[in-house]
């Protein structure tokens, strides 16, 4: 029992750190333009394909060492996914900046469908897979059982937390971070101080896409398979994580992701794995009823 509990805790932490990475994109975009980017899950899906393409290309050119493969794949995926994020914002959301709140939401759903169909047509509808890159695992004896930590999971944990730490540093201590926060807190004032707020909004979309790309590489490494529909369920999970942590709050998205991942894994391992999605979304409903501002969010105050 101890063994299973700890094992699920570790699995949940790994899954949750990746939810957190994707949730960052939802929460930052919401924070800065007050819209839920429903195409964000599809950006993650695209990055999974890009990761597989990059791995195949690198293997074709004879790259075999894990660090090189990883570095090349991360670089390629992050850059191209960032371009996707930038382009989507320019095409689908920027022209609607001054229209009703509903318009960009509908536009996001449209982009989400376009990306799904685009992946399906260009890459085929069947499941794609990548080989396991890191073999082996650490085994730790715990009481009567043991906990198995695959090297892949350890790598995911380290990479995900490094990504979150780097982003936290950028937002807290750099000029770019201050510009993002200023635009989020008062866009009109930010522009009066000389900030090109349209450009800052673009940066935020790119940051969200980059974090989703990191998640895409890591999850693809862990599960090995994905298809054109992979972005939907994980996108909604990450959105749940963002709401759980308090939408608009960056530490909230990370915390929400980890809590959701752990509680989902524990539920699946200890109670029933068929109903784990039901459990996650019930959690979303409960949060929306009892704490709509989330764990670290602030109650909404109407702006004058």
């Amino acid at each position: 029992m101890d063994g299973i509990f700890l094992q699920q805790l570790v699995n949940g932490l790994t899954l949750g750190s990746v939810y957190g990475l994707i949730a960052i994109g939802y929460t930052m975009v919401y924070g800065i333009i007050g819209m839920i980017n429903f195409a964000h899950g599809e950006v993650y899906m695209i990055s999974a394909y890009l990761a597989a393409i990059s791995l195949a290309l690198l293997a074709y050119f004879g790259v075999e060492s894990f660090p090189l493969l990883m570095l090349g794949t991360l670089l390629f995926t992050v850059v191209v996914t960032g371009v996707y994020g930038f382009t989507i914002e320019r095409i689908a959301y920027k022209p609607l900046r001054n229209s009703t709140r509903l318009a960009p939401l509908i536009s996001a759903i449209g982009i989400s469908l376009i990306l799904q169909n685009y992946a399906q047509i260009s890459q085929g509808a069947r499941q794609q897979g990548v080989p396991t890159l890191l073999e082996g695992a650490l085994r730790v004896e715990v009481g009567s059982g043991f906990v198995q930590l695959t090297y892949t999971k350890i790598f995911i944990l380290i990479a995900a937390f490094a990504g979150m730490a780097l982003l936290t540093y950028v937002i807290k201590y750099t000029k770019l971070g201050r510009m993002c926060r200023a635009t989020q807190q008062d866009r009109k004032m930010a522009s009066i101080l000389g900030i090109n707020t349209d450009r800052v909004i673009s940066y935020v979309f790119v940051i969200g896409a980059v974090m989703a790309a990191l998640a895409g590489v890591l999850i693809t490494m862990n599960y090995g398979t994905f298809d054109f529909y992979a972005g939907f369920i994980i996108g909604i999970k990450a959105f749940t994580a963002a709401v759980l942590g308090g939408i608009g709050s960056l530490p909230g998205a990370m915390l929400g992701g980890i809590i959701l991942g752990i509680s989902e894994s524990l539920f699946a391992g200890l109670i029933n794995s068929d109903y784990k999605d039901v459990f996650s979304f019930s959690l979303l409903v409960l949060i929306l009823i009892f704490r709509p501002q989330g764990l670290l969010g602030r109650p909404l105050v109407a702006k004058v």
Binding site: K175, R178, R181, Q185, K188, I192, L193, I195, N196, T197
Partner: protein
């Protein structure tokens, strides 16, 4: 005095169907302190914001050092030397005093940042005590000082101030106007919008009086201070 640094020509500005400014013409010369007085809702804040194109003028022209900036973006205007401490202060609530001041350096980069920050702390010693405190936790007076200091961090050629005395205790108002006098004497060009006509006129070289979106009167600060109509309408008859 030299050529005008800012000139408004027959400016019309609308909020939806409502005309907020009607054929407003005025100018500010380099090195001058000019104030705009008028009742609440006369259109004073609208005038300041429309210099930054928010809202855009429907017709008319805004010339800054001879260049037409009527259709330019707010960040372009800020980058060229106009800074504003706006109505309601609008400091960034979740940022510290230091971070707020850093936001003022966007148009010129941060090469003078630490030097200028020291200068702001000399001008407003209270800000130094509060340097790592978040702006939302500060008093209205401190936030006002922060908003003015933040505007000064861009080393502006023209400083726009919207109601720096609004909602503040008389003693704080006195402090702020003393600081503004220092700034004016150092050669800064200041355009001040105020309901507190007494303080504003004493500080200003020239002033305009706005009523219902129109400029009704203009003159030197001294002339308006002794003007019968101005005294009755804006100085409470004293």
């Amino acid at each position: 005095m030299s050529a005008p640094i800012l000139e408004l020509k027959e400016l019309d500005v609308f909020y939806g169907p409502i005309q907020a400014l009607k054929k407003v013409s005025m100018h500010i010369n380099e090195g001058e302190t000019v104030s705009l007085i008028g009742a609440n809702g006369a259109g004073k804040s609208t005038l300041l914001m429309s210099i930054f194109g928010q809202p855009r003028a429907a017709s008319g022209q805004i010339l800054y050092r001879g260049t037409d900036i009527t259709r330019k973006s707010p960040h372009f205007i800020a980058s060229n030397g106009i800074a504003q401490s706006p109505e309601g202060r609008r400091v960034f609530p979740d940022m510290t005093v230091e971070e707020n001041l850093m936001m003022g350096t966007i148009p010129i980069g941060d090469k003078h940042a630490s030097e200028d920050m020291q200068r702001m702390y000399e001008l407003f010693p209270r800000l130094k005590e509060r340097r790592s405190q978040r702006a939302m936790t500060m008093s209205g007076g401190e936030q006002q000082m922060l908003a003015i200091a933040r505007a000064l961090m861009s080393r502006p050629k023209l400083l726009l101030l919207d109601e720096p005395s609004l909602g503040l205790a008389p003693i704080v108002v006195k402090q702020i106007f003393a600081t503004l006098r220092e700034l004016a004497q150092s050669g800064m060009t200041i355009f001040l919008v105020e309901q507190n006509a007494n303080h504003a006129l004493k500080l200003s070289d020239r002033a305009y009086v706005m009523v219902n979106g129109e400029i009704r009167m203009t003159g030197t600060g001294q002339e308006l201070l002794v003007n019968e109509d101005v005294r009755n309408a804006y100085l409470g008859g004293h």
